[in-house]
């Protein structure tokens, strides 16, 4: 029974650490499906986390924090769009720039505004998204098997966790069942065809990039005002890149993206749980190896040894209307 308890704890932790990955991964999905590579997910998440925690600390409202996080991330997304759609700049370069600007300015502004060495004040009560107990969680707790799963694993997370998982079917529906989604995918594969049909390539890509901003803002807000009680400097710690890895791992599809994020989240949760302890079955594993595993797996996948990851065909290429 103890084993089941430990596994429940790990799965519970998996859900919590997967959520920022999932939100960032879906964020990247919109942009990359529209043909705009985005390695600036990390920066947008970080900026969102900082803006969210700052606004929540000043206003005392988690909702105002959430709005600030989303607006800030959308602003950075628009900068990326301005550089890579309007000015046809290099999308990778632009993403790198956004990561640096976000990393530097969150620390400088955080120190100047709050004088706590880059932290924002600790949030509590209304300024955070607390856990939500789903109806019947307490009543069902004693039921065998399903009881603990429902009350421990599914119930008791913050609002943004449920939003993140609901975004998966929503994104699937948008991409594969709406006219907008069809055009979005088309613009990532063959923008000239979309242009010929009389649809603005730039406007479509801008809308995709704004979606990316909104979702990466949610990811940042989750980090600083739901999972943690405030912003700490460099709190994304590479999550934006793990999300990017998950996106490739999922071959740019929403439902596999969720499973990829859960897998990478599970690795992280398990490595925290088993830190310094021997793992079941495999024995002692250096924690650094587990930390590097998402990246190693992605490289192996990219190399084409476990299926082939084919990116959207027009990805990374600025669209030039024929002259």
């Amino acid at each position: 029974m103890e084993f089941v308890g430990i596994m429940l704890q790990i799965f519970d932790a998996t859900i919590r650490v997967s959520v920022p990955l999932l939100l960032a991964c879906l964020a990247g999905l919109y942009s990359e499906r529209a043909g705009v590579f985005d390695i600036g997910l990390e920066g947008k998440m970080l900026a969102g986390a900082f803006a969210g925690a700052s606004a929540a600390a000043v206003s005392g409202s988690a909702w105002i924090g959430l709005a600030a996080a989303v607006l800030t991330a959308v602003f950075f997304a628009l900068v990326h769009g301005f550089a890579s759609i309007t000015h046809r700049g290099n999308q990778i370069v632009s993403g790198v720039a956004i990561n640096f600007i976000a990393a530097g300015s969150t620390i400088i502004l955080g120190q100047a505004w709050f004088q706590q060495g880059g932290r924002t004040p600790s949030l509590s009560g209304e300024a955070r998204f607390g856990a939500i107990t789903l109806p019947g969680a307490d009543a069902l707790r004693d039921m065998p098997v399903l009881g603990p799963i429902y009350s421990e694993l599914i119930s008791g997370h913050s609002l943004l966790v449920y939003v993140a998982f609901l975004m998966v079917p929503f994104t699937w529906w948008v991409l594969f069942r709406t006219r907008f989604g069809l055009r979005l995918r088309a613009v990532g594969e063959n923008p000239a065809a979309v242009d010929t049909a009389g649809i603005s390539v730039a406007w479509l890509r801008y809308r995709a990039v704004i979606f990316t901003g909104v979702l990466s803002g949610l990811a940042g807000a989750y980090l600083s005002i739901a999972q943690n009680a405030g912003f700490v400097k460099d709190m994304t710690a590479g999550k934006g890149f793990i999300a990017l890895a998950a996106l490739i791992f999922a071959k740019w599809k929403p439902v596999p993206a969720m499973f990829a994020c859960l897998l990478f989240g599970f690795l992280e949760a398990a490595s925290i749980r088993f830190q310094g302890l021997p793992w079941p079955v495999i024995g002692r594993v250096p924690v650094q190896l587990i930390n590097a595993l998402p990246f190693i797996l992605t490289v192996i996948l990219l190399a084409g040894f476990i299926g082939k990851a084919i990116p959207p065909r027009a990805g990374g290429v600025p669209y030039v209307k024929e002259r």
Binding site: V93, G104, A292
Partner: protein, 379 residues
């Protein structure tokens, strides 16, 4: 926006536009300084004084510039072949392992002038090998090199933490770093150069790897513009189709260019390890690999541009450290913002000011800006 980018005179293309981009980057950085409640002009004065005020400051500025010359050249060599090596950070970090092995083996037996060449070879070899895997995967399996090099940065970081914590750390020590090197693995300082000009240098870590960096800048110029391989690399970077048609092997160029790039990035490890800290510690690269991207973009991938751009970033690092003392609201992270802004304006938005500048030129002398100039610079 759909007019082709016409040809500007060389000095405008390589001088005016980069300076305009840089000025805009600094203007935006000035706004950030205003936001934190300091005066941007006095910040700039402190920064310049902190970088050039006395001999020691100049020596520190050049010490930092050494790192950025190596990483800037690394990014530039890949750029010329149409590749984006974002993995300089990881290649330099893992190259520290090569330097460590040479230094720990020979520091008691050999003098520095024998250890140094061995360490150069080891650093370049390890850096090149770390770049070889992404290069091979790009050349043979079509994996996107940007993504794989990013992933390799993280893998390098994890590997080095593991090695320093569990393998290289001497028994009984708490800090995750190697033992201190003996005299045989310590590079001579270059303070005498500035002292001969009458400047007091004291303990600044400027060392002879600065000369190695300048030598490498020259070597890269020779490679890119004076050798067959360099010509092939530029051809491939300019038009992979034309290169293929001319019988240039795609995989060979990708692999060779990336290995040269990784080797240059790897040599960066020599400067802090053998020249300053005399041991391998966690995170000794400290972002220099990423600064290389900004340096290469600003220097337009030409060694003659990269060296001044690297010195500019040396100024920002050293001056920024002094600035942090004087203005408590501004820490060294200000440099990270400036770096990001330089990458944004000199890299991603490099064409933004081109059209207005061309319009100005055209209004002066329409002939100097023949709009559909046949020799238009494509990239």
């Amino acid at each position: 926006m759909s007019t082709p980018y016409a040809k500007l005179p060389g000095w405008a293309d390589y001088g005016l536009i980069p300076i305009v981009n840089l000025l805009v980057a600094f203007l935006v950085a000035g706004v950030v300084v205003l936001l934190v409640g300091e005066n941007p002009l006095s910040a700039a004065v402190i920064l310049i004084d902190g970088a050039f005020g006395n001999g020691q400051n100049i020596a520190y500025t050049l010490y930092y510039a050494t790192n950025f010359i190596f990483t800037g050249l690394a990014v530039a060599v890949a750029f010329h072949s149409g590749l984006f090596n974002i993995g300089g950070e990881g290649q330099a970090y893992i190259a520290g392992l090569g330097v460590a092995l040479v230094c720990l083996t020979f520091d008691a037996i050999l003098p520095w002038w024998l250890t140094f060449p061995l360490a150069i070879v080891a650093a370049a070899a390890v850096g090149a090998l770390w770049a070889l895997i992404p290069a091979y995967l790009q050349a043979k399996r079509g994996s996107h090199i940007v993504i794989t090099t990013i992933m390799f940065n993280f893998i390098a970081a994890s590997a080095m933490v593991y090695l320093l914590v569990d393998v290289l750390k001497p028994a009984g020590s708490m800090a995750p770093q190697t033992r201190d090197f003996l005299d045989g693995a310590q590079l001579p300082k270059m303070g005498w150069l500035l002292e001969s000009l009458g400047l007091a240098v004291r303990s600044a870590p400027l060392n002879i790897s600065f000369l190695l960096a300048l030598l490498m800048a020259f070597a890269v110029w020779v490679l890119i513009w004076r050798t067959k391989l360099g010509y092939e690399m530029r051809t491939f970077g300019f038009s992979p189709k034309a290169a293929r048609y001319a019988g240039i092997s795609e995989s060979r160029i990708i692999v060779v260019a990336m290995m040269i790039s990784g080797g240059l990035a790897g040599m960066m490890a020599l400067n802090p390890i053998m020249g300053d800290q005399h041991r391998v510690a966690l995170d000794f690269v400290a972002g220099a690999g990423f600064v290389g991207i900004a340096v290469a973009l600003m220097g337009r991938s030409h060694p003659a541009g990269i060296v001044p751009a690297a010195i500019l970033f040396g100024v920002l690092y050293q001056g920024g450290a002094e600035l942090a003392f004087e203005m408590p609201n501004i820490s060294r992270d200000m440099i990270v913002i400036i770096q990001g802004l330089v990458i944004l304006f000199a890299g991603a938005l490099e064409h933004m000011f081109r059209a207005p500048i061309q319009a100005v030129f055209a209004s002066f002398s329409p002939r100097s800006v023949g709009v559909a100039a046949p020799k238009g610079e494509g990239a």
